[in-house]
Symmetry: C2
Subunit: 725 residues, 2 copies
């Protein structure tokens, strides 16, 4: 599985149990009756809810019961295991990171203090008395003084801002031991950190590899071995440096193989690391012709380089914005990530943007992306805030950023580092002068300068938003056809969750009609986004296109129709705009709990919405596509559409015939047959415009159907709205 | 004087002499007759020219004789002085930097290798035999393979690009020992580097000071003392850290005092440093209202922060672009810098941009700026090239950048770090992804994060160029009134040098008319700038305004008229555009040798042009100013002008009466009296538009004269062109 745990096969986890107490004050000593059972990793709130019998968090307004739990001190307790250590073995207590600040006490003495989800620690407890209490005091959640009860309370810490409340996330601020934590028996001489670094020659024909290991305990000789994807040892070394000729390269799933090598590092003591590594080169480059455009200078800031060049090939990025897959990072595991990453790959997406508001993903996520051929855009934990220049914050940020970079740079799927989300926007007011962003650039340069770095997204030249199918009198068909960005780092079309899901989170009596202040508001259907109080339920949009909806089922059906055709339209239009445009990422992929309505493609925890299928279609490497002026038409109007062959694949598309038909009111009308020539690799072909006077359709819809003779997989179908004359 | 030399009063320089030989190859051993006298610091070309009796470099095409000298190996030789060292004393050989690459041999053995003008080195030679030869082998000038004979040959090194040829600099590539170099007797325990760092509290009321010293030789206790500007000791410490309450702040000359403290650092051995230091806080901030403007986001990249806030006060920057004051950095000294800095201060300028194409200035320059209250914008040695991501270049750049930052951050006059000149422009093609720029940001963050950093200029929002009084059918009056930048990082108006100067550089027979290919071309009057083959002589501009010039004297007179009124107009217009605009820097201040025509305000070496006086007027802290639509008018037309009071000073201007008069053809016509109210500190007042039908003027000119009753110093006069009806 490649989880962090299994990377050290010669270490032995010692089972143990945890108890937890809520304290009135930091110095309070819990009485025997104050202890409850705790699960680690987890969160104090989950343990508390279990002990107190809280009802289902996801239902109605039950989330309200969790308010304020984050303001207490909490004490975890376990004990040093009663085991006999063989000679040359040591007992370690390890913790992969803490949410958010803690003090570790062994037999009553403070032995460590830690802060931050990303920075783990390990303590050699071989000398501790068996059965001695090991306690971890968790401090109340940080809340920046003077700030209102929103994300700005997290604006001077690295604690993810999302849990302080977002337009699709309740205010629920987890605390506790959220990463693997416990006791482990290892060799006395053991590996503290192993770094696998390489430089590829310009022609990618050779990798200069450096393997460095930091070790603890007595000195021990180190050897390492690299096995190729077939398992054959291609390098066996006692020195840090070695050269690998003709490394097989790691590619996204749509451009090549996911060549994963196995790195084995072993100390003479027997402590041993086994993990996957890989070789890839990622650059951000200007789009072809950018330097030659008429423009005021400076040109590289007007259109900063954002086209991804992977292993020397400029690829079109079809991606999605990833948020925390659960409110509680502590209960996220490989089993959470794998189905979601599989769904993203299945939808023909090739990049996941890990949004800075959420906790950085655990190792299992990156392992899954390595295997599935998904590039990762990794942000640091800054989002929509003005993070300060003060020394204390900068020190914490540097600590956490170094931990994150040292960990994630080991994964070939890593595509780019980004400082955080929307930091240059007027609601954040950071600039290139901001020391946190200068620091992150520095850390990335020092530790991983081969991977591109951006201070934030969006940057100049990028489209970012909006999140409505219909906006300022235009639908997304019209809006994106008239835009000219180099990348679309976020765009959204909301839909309402399926009826059965709604029934599981909204009390029956509140289901229809949706009213403000009800569970619809708790679950973000109403009042979630200031731009329109009825988003994400889309009330005004549905009314505009279809009149007042008459039932819940109708809201769900129609909003999903809009979401499908909206996302289809935007992804395909962005692809038509290459090579100027090189990236399209929808907002968002997943969600942290069941929402009533959201821009997501997948409901919590991993339930695809219909739009995921539309995205799968729009993101196929090769497809017949139509540029359609707008979503809604009227009987008797002349419908037009422009025909395209889109090809993001590394192979040319052979010449063929694209057939366009219009299906309305049960009738099938042939519009055109376009004989297109060979379409080069990673390029599109633009065809003729077709037109037809629209017949009536009792169902209120019609379809444009495209097919390519002999290539079923390229067929496309667009379902559009048709009003009576 | 504060030169580097005098900062260590207890060290003793040992006089010595140098010889120099030109080698056929690096391994060649010069014969006795091959040696010539050498001056150190200096340049091999200067010694060679002296020995071979080259005629005056500045005359005609004499510069051609220097071609190719940079392609030889050169060997400097001196000898270890014959002195007796007292106990506890050591003999050092020191070198402040080398142009560009060298190998140091002591008694025939290589003891050091060095590269770069900015990185000095020191060698303890106490154990060397008296009289032993010390040789420095200078390598040929770096020229990037495959590049043409221009600045691109310097695109993978830190050697200043300017000497490879520029539109106001001949191609002459100096080599040799260009910094202080020689022998010195010191205490065995001596100071290698002293760093004075401080953090000011947000209210500027307290400085937390850290003095760190790196020392060589045996351990010795360290004490330091800080004396205030009056000489009184305010801190005396044996520890690195101390707090100073209410530090007197260093200001630019137009906003406050140049409070210079004296830092004395002494080792127990007696080695002692005495230098000036000071306290200031510089930030780059957004202009007022910038975040609230309607704009596509991200806003901080659309108009990145460029307003200088000094000690909490947003100041208007009136500055100038500084180039190398001599072709040969090796002969630049305090005596070169001081008159130029005095002229800049006298012209009411408050910032000098040290342009990245030129060598970084020596300590005496920064000392002069500290004393004169001039902020310094310091660039790294990158200009107009695509500097590569390769490891060898990055290592050299990091070495040189670290040396520069460690040195210059000690000076309170340092205002901002900038990666280099015009790097984001289409002729350079660097971007934010370029590793050299990410590296420089990193180095500045690590060593001097309190000082702002920009990757290059121009950035988005900045005006940069043009360099002609008349361009695309409009003069600079019109051009700048219709522009809307946040800063003007370069703008130029050329003029022709005075007749007597021209006579000293151009053979009599070539003086009139100026012809391409003559000394006019060598000295940049013709063919210097691709945009117009007759710049900087302005032939087409002069013809446009005044018809074909009939004599050299007329060219000089008319071009200086345009330069005066052009620069006056631009500086005043930029000031009228505050607070959106916060900076205006003309291109350029000085020049490295006598040019025939140039945008400079001062001829080589320090001879003011008439335009310097115009700039002095336009940059007065308080003045009456007029927004005049254009330079040239015609008899009978209705002349208009808008009246302003400009106030960049920290004090309000009391209410008063501004009187506007027009003087033409010997007649004085009263236009208006504007009674203005109090003008707040650092703000302008906009007055009425005046108008008058223009009479005739036999002289072809007329003046607008502004005066403020009782405040002679605020009066302004504009001399404009007037054509017959």
């Amino acid at each position: 599985m490649g989880s962090s745990e299994s990377r050290f096969p010669n270490r032995l986890r010692v089972p143990g149990s945890w108890r937890l107490a809520r304290l009135g004050a930091s110095g309070e000593v819990p009485g025997p009756g104050d202890w409850i059972d705790a699960r680690v990793p987890g969160a104090v709130q989950l343990d508390w809810a279990r002990a107190r019998g809280f009802p289902d968090l996801n239902f109605g307004n039950n989330v309200a019961a969790y308010a304020g739990l984050e303001d207490s001190h909490w004490l975890y307790r376990t004990e040093v295991p009663r085991i006999v250590l063989e000679k040359g073995r040591a007992l370690y207590f390890f913790c992969g990171g803490v949410d958010f600040e803690c003090e570790v006490r062994l037999a009553g003495s403070v032995v460590h203090r830690a802060k931050g989800l990303m920075t783990g620690f390990e303590i050699d407890v071989s000398g501790a008395k068996a059965g001695a209490p090991l306690e971890i005091l968790i401090m109340p959640a940080p809340k920046r003084p003077g700030m209102p009860d929103d994300r700005t309370q997290a604006s001077n810490v690295t604690k993810p801002a999302v849990s302080y409340g977002w337009d699709w996330h309740p205010r629920l601020i987890p605390l506790g031991l959220c990463e693997e934590t416990g006791f482990e028996v290892r060799a006395e001489a053991n590996l503290a950190h192993v770094d696998f670094a390489y430089e590829l020659t310009e022609d990618l024909g050779r990798a200069e590899i450096t393997v460095t290991a930091e070790a603890r305990g007595p000195a021990a000789p180190l050897r390492w071995c690299l096995r190729d994807p077939s398992g054959e040892a291609v390098l066996e070394c006692a020195q840090p440096r070695a050269t690998l000729d003709r490394p097989r390269l790691w590619w996204t799933h749509d451009h090549g193989e996911q060549a994963l090598y196995t790195l084995e590092v072993e100390l003479g003591s027997g402590d041993r690391l086994v993990r996957s590594v890989g070789f890839r080169r990622v650059r951000l480059v200007m789009h072809p012709g950018a330097w030659d455009l008429e423009a005021t200078f400076p040109k590289s800031r007007e259109r900063p380089p954002v086209a991804v060049e992977l292993n020397g090939r400029r690829i079109f990025v079809k991606g999605t914005n990833w948020v925390n897959p659960d409110i509680f990072h502590g209960r996220v595991s490989a089993g959470t990530y794998q189905p979601l990453v599989d769904l993203a790959r299945g939808a023909n997406l090739n990049l996941i943007r890990c949004w800075g508001g959420a906790p950085a993903a655990k190792e299992a996520f990156f392992d899954a992306c390595n295997r599935c051929g998904m590039l990762v855009w990794q942000e640091f934990p800054l989002a929509c805030n003005l993070y300060p220049d003060d020394g204390e914050y900068l020190a914490l940020l540097e600590q956490e950023a170094r931990s994150l970079v040292r960990r994630v740079r080991q994964h070939p799927c890593l595509g780019l580092w980004v400082g955080g989300n929307e930091l240059f926007n007027s609601w954040s007011r950071m600039t290139d002068q901001a020391l946190p962003l200068r620091l992150l650039n520095k850390v990335c340069y020092e530790l991983d300068r081969g991977t591109p770095f951006l201070p934030t997204a969006p940057l100049e030249g990028m489209g970012h938003g909006d999140y409505r199918f219909w906006n300022k009198g235009r639908d997304v068909f019209e809006l994106y056809q008239s835009s000219a960005f180099t990348a679309y780092s976020e765009f959204g079309c909301p839909s309402t969750s399926p009826v059965d899901l709604l029934e599981s989170i909204i009390p029956r009596e509140e289901l229809w009609p949706p009213r403000p202040g009800s569970s619809w508001t708790v679950h973000h259907g109403l009042g979630a986004w200031e731009a329109d109080p009825t988003t994400w339920l889309c009330t005004s949009t549905l009314r505009h296109f279809f009149g007042e909806p008459r039932s819940l089922e109708e809201v769900v059906r129609l909003s999903n129709w809009l979401q499908c055709e909206g996302y289809r339209s935007i992804f395909e239009e962005a692809r038509r705009q290459q090579p100027r445009c090189s990236m399209a990422l929808n907002w968002c992929f997943n969600e942290p709990w069941p929402t009533a309505a959201n821009n997501s493609l997948v409901n919590w925890p991993a339930r695809p919405k219909p739009a995921l299928g539309a995205v799968r279609g729009a993101c196929r490497p090769v497809l017949a596509s139509a540029r359609i002026p707008r979503f809604q038409w009227r009987e008797g109007e002349t419908f037009t559409a422009e025909l395209w062959i889109l090809n993001d694949s590394p192979a040319p598309v052979t010449a063929g015939i694209l057939r366009a038909e219009l299906v309305a009111g049960g009738k099938r009308l042939k519009l055109a047959e376009w004989g297109f020539g060979e379409v080069p690799a990673c390029a599109n072909a633009r065809g003729p415009q077709v037109r037809a006077v629209l017949p009536g359709s009792p169902g209120g819809d019609f379809s444009l159907e495209l097919s390519v003779a002999g290539t079923e997989a390229c067929s496309s179908s667009y379902r559009l709205s048709l009003l009576p004359a």
